[in-house]
């Protein structure tokens, strides 16, 4: 496999509508009332064990249910259409320099856009987000080549409205 930077760029350029940015939307996700708050800290047992991470009962119990998750959008050099990652901490990924040698925390949520928007690339938002959607569990190789374990399926991009908390990034 050769690196496909050019093809990704091409995809990016072909997308007629690059989402202006979630941050431009309202300040809270549109809720249906059935969402359960799920902190990223409750995804996996900590510390991580010698045989890898283990899911919490809280996480397992919410499979297929609507949840509300807060976190930071992972900043990628090479974002993929229809997909972004959410971590509890601000993380930048320098794919061009380091590939998958990264500092992603074990509890990273893979957020999938609805099928109708699967070709769109979400603009990076430098803020804490609050997302609502349906939780999906299980190992899956994503289009990016990364393996996800916890995914959030957004019903609509409106559900990805931000709750941008705080404006003082340098206390």
């Amino acid at each position: 496999m050769r690196r496909s930077i050019h093809s990704r760029v091409a995809v990016f350029c072909l997308v007629a509508v690059v989402i202006a940015g979630i941050a431009a939307c309202a300040t809270a996700p549109r809720l249906r009332g059935d969402e359960v708050s799920l902190p990223l800290s409750e995804f996996f047992v900590r510390p991580v064990g010698p045989r890898g991470q283990e899911p919490t009962q809280t996480l397992l119990g919410l499979n297929g249910k609507r949840v509300l998750v807060q976190g930071f959008m992972v900043r990628e050099e090479e974002p993929f259409p229809g997909l972004f990652m959410l971590a509890a901490l601000p993380v930048s990924i320098a794919e061009r320099a380091d590939g998958p040698a990264d500092y992603l925390p074990p509890a990273t949520l893979f957020v999938h856009l609805p099928d109708a928007q699967r070709d769109e690339i979400v603009k990076y938002v430098p803020a804490r987000l609050e997302l609502a959607g349906t939780l999906e569990l299980g190992a899956k190789e994503e289009a990016s080549g990364r393996v996800s374990y916890v995914r959030l399926r957004l019903d609509d991009l409106e559900d990805a409205r931000t709750a941008e908390v705080g404006t003082q990034p340098n206390p």
Binding site: A94, Y103, A139, G166, P169
Partner: protein, 670 residues
């Protein structure tokens, strides 16, 4: 019969034939040609115009593949190919495989002869001759060199390479100032790497660029040959497969094969990352993590691998590939494995036969951890595990799922000053000097014929990319403490050579001066939000105004704080756009926010250089368009200590260092 040539012919007969062919070519449009001849040479690249510099060099008996890409005429196929060295046909099987890179003419083939070697010192002529289905032939010429090994004296038994990823002279100077300080123009105490008696200046270009990445930057030292960016232990080819490229033999493979030496690989990054993999792995894709870690294990008999430590547990855990079709609600189903078919490896039959390599398999469900343990390796998941692992067994240490945490964050974790390592879920990670000491203990106990050990301070580079000054400086200090451990080992094991170097420079780091204000005053200036008028003017002291920044050290050997009054200031030449306020960034975990911290509202923190340090409003415009700083083509300093160091010196290409080390290991040094 038509004969076409790309380069000068070797024999008189074929040269005359080539002259005839030249006139014939002028009147005929044809595609039949050799578009690539490997090993790479200027003779081939310039179509005979220049034979120098010699690109591919080897020591006697060092193995490498011969390969040519041959494009036939339309509607023709290539029926055979023959390689000749100095006009003599090279015995062995030549395999013709389809060229699968897009854009090549139909029926283009890649002809390969595996694992060739030559013991005759000097420059050799390499040619390939191919025949297509209508009996037309084509030929092309290149060259390579076999470098002499002389009997000079006592041989070097152990080779230790201390590799500061991205560590240029700026990084070293910054670490020296922060660690020890300068008094009236002299270092109060030198870094361990400063005490090495031999120095050299190293050039780092890769096969395809003046600016290398870590793959060629590392592997050039331990193969003697240039690879292209993103590639390690191989030359480029015209197939899309990641692991079938023409290979050349690593130092580790050669010395394991001929002397029974062992190999240790220690890093603070994920162990699949470019630098550690460039000690033993052959691939054109440095990102193919599953195949890379599998090859560590599968070919350990060929490399002598005995110690492997760093991050990267995610590649060693089985991935339940059928999820979510089957029940994944188990611990195994969520273990964090990153194994995937797309990054795994299989090898073609000719490569397996030629090199004796394992075949590989697309097996994301493989339990590589158990494979290691099943053949007698100890497995350490924490510093405590590592410390108690027996020296009598090979050692696998995987202290994080991906990269290990950075020295500043590990130290702050040990000081209970931050929760970053806890937040990542790996509270008991070793420091690099502890890993180095353990690796030396294990290798010393298990290597009667000596060893090759590479120890990498990986995040010097990764944090320089981020222009995160304090983090790259502390990682440089962490590496220097490891260098002290290696030097001490060499002092008590005098047949040991220790080399301190870098794969490339990262970010164009330079110590530009010192702050003219206290930390409190600096914070006041930042709070104004006025920008350069407050955060640059009156703060950045140059020449006399830089003074001598003085940091104090804690008992653990690291600065008590990096936010001192009148601090050292760092600039970046290969910088991306960023805001700068000169203060220590809490990143990667600003505010040490624990995942799921319920305190609301949580303080938001932007991740990128343009989204941090914004309050002072001092934006530094980058010279590059990337999101983070980039590698540079700057030369890097090399320091050497121990037996064989006398062979080092002057300005050297990074491939030259290989030949000096191999001379020391095989022929000895005075």
């Amino acid at each position: 019969m038509r004969i076409r040539t790309k380069n000068l012919k070797i024999t008189a007969c074929s040269w005359l034939a080539a002259l005839g062919a030249t006139s014939l070519l002028a009147s005929e449009a044809s595609a039949l040609t050799v578009s690539r001849l490997t090993p790479p040479s200027e003779l081939f690249a310039t179509t005979g115009a220049s034979a120098t510099p010699i690109i591919a060099r080897f020591i006697p008996y060092q193995r490498f593949d011969l390969q040519a890409t041959i494009r036939p005429d339309a509607a023709q196929t290539i029926t055979s190919a023959t390689f000749l060295v100095d006009g003599v046909v090279v015995p062995g099987s030549v395999t013709l495989a389809p060229a699968t890179v897009a854009g090549l003419p139909a029926n283009t083939v890649v002809a390969t002869l595996r694992a060739y070697s030559n013991a005759t010192v000097g420059v050799h002529a390499l040619s390939v001759q191919a025949v297509q289905s209508d009996a037309a032939t084509v030929a092309a010429n290149g060259n390579f060199e076999v470098v002499a090994i002389s009997n000079l004296g006592r041989r070097t038994k152990n080779i230790i390479i201390m590799l500061g990823d991205g560590m240029g002279s700026g990084h070293r100077a910054a670490a020296r100032i922060m660690q020890n300080g300068i008094a009236q123009g002299k270092a109060r105490t030198r870094l361990a790497m400063d005490t090495f008696p031999v120095s050299a200046n190293v050039t780092t270009a890769s096969l395809n660029s003046i600016v290398t990445d870590s793959s060629p930057g590392m592997q050039n030292y331990v193969t003697g040959n240039k690879s292209a960016n993103n590639q390690e232990g191989v030359w480029p080819d015209d197939t899309t497969a990641n692991f079938d490229n023409p290979r050349f033999e690593y130092m580790s493979e050669y010395l394991a094969r001929t002397q029974g030496k062992k190999l240790g690989v220690v890093t603070t990054s994920d162990v699949f990352d470019a630098t550690p993999a460039s000690m033993a792995i052959h691939t054109q894709n440095r990102g193919a993590g599953t195949g890379i870690v599998d090859q560590y294990f599968d070919d350990r008999g060929q490399t002598g691998l005995t110690v492997l430590m760093g991050g990267g547990r995610k590649w060693f855990l089985p991935n339940p590939t059928n999820c979510p079709d089957v029940d994944c609600g188990t611990a195994t189903g969520f273990n964090g494995s990153a194994r995937a078919n797309s990054t795994d490896y299989t090898l073609p039959a000719d490569l397996i036969a030629g090199w004796g390599s394992s075949a590989g398999a697309l097996d994301p469900a493989r339990d590589l951890l158990s494979d290691f343990q099943g053949v007698g390796w100890s497995y350490a998941a924490t510093e405590n595990d590592m410390a108690t692992a027996p020296n009598s067994q090979p050692l696998l240490g995987l202290f994080a799922l991906s990269n290990m945490n950075i020295a500043l964050d590990k130290i702050n974790g040990r000081r209970a000053a931050s929760t970053i390592v806890d937040d990542y879920g790996f509270p008991d990670q070793p420091m690099l000097d502890e890993m180095t000491a353990k690796a030396l203990s294990v290798l010393d106990a298990q290597s009667p014929n000596g060893f090759v050990l590479m120890v990498e301070g990986a995040s010097i580079d990764k944090q320089a990319h981020n222009m995160d000054t304090e983090r790259f400086v502390l990682d440089t200090i962490e590496l220097d403490r490891s260098i002290a451990v290696a030097k001490q080992y060499a002092a008590t094991h005098p047949d040991t050579l220790v080399i301190v170097t870098a794969d490339h420079e990262c970010a164009g780091v330079a110590v530009i001066g010192g702050s003219q204000v206290t930390d409190a005053a600096l914070q006041t200036r930042i709070a104004t939000g006025i920008g350069a008028a407050q955060v640059r003017s009156g703060v950045v002291g140059t020449y006399d105004a830089a003074g001598f920044p003085r940091y104090t050290l804690a008992a653990d050997g690291y600065p008590t704080t990096t936010d001192i009054d009148y601090r050292m200031l760092i600039g970046y030449a290969a910088n991306a756009d960023r805001f700068e306020d000169w203060r220590t960034n809490p990143q990667p975990l600003r505010d040490s926010q624990q995942p799921g911290n319920a305190v609301a509202p949580l303080t938001s923190y932007p991740a990128g250089p343009l989204n941090r340090d914004v309050i002072g409003n001092f934006q530094v415009t980058g010279q590059i368009a990337d999101a983070v700083a980039a590698h540079t083509a700057n030369d890097i300093p090399l320091s050497a200590y121990g037996r064989g160091s006398s062979l080092i010196g002057g300005t050297m290409d990074n491939t030259d260092v290989f030949f000096s080390i191999m001379q020391a290991a095989i022929g000895g040094a005075k």
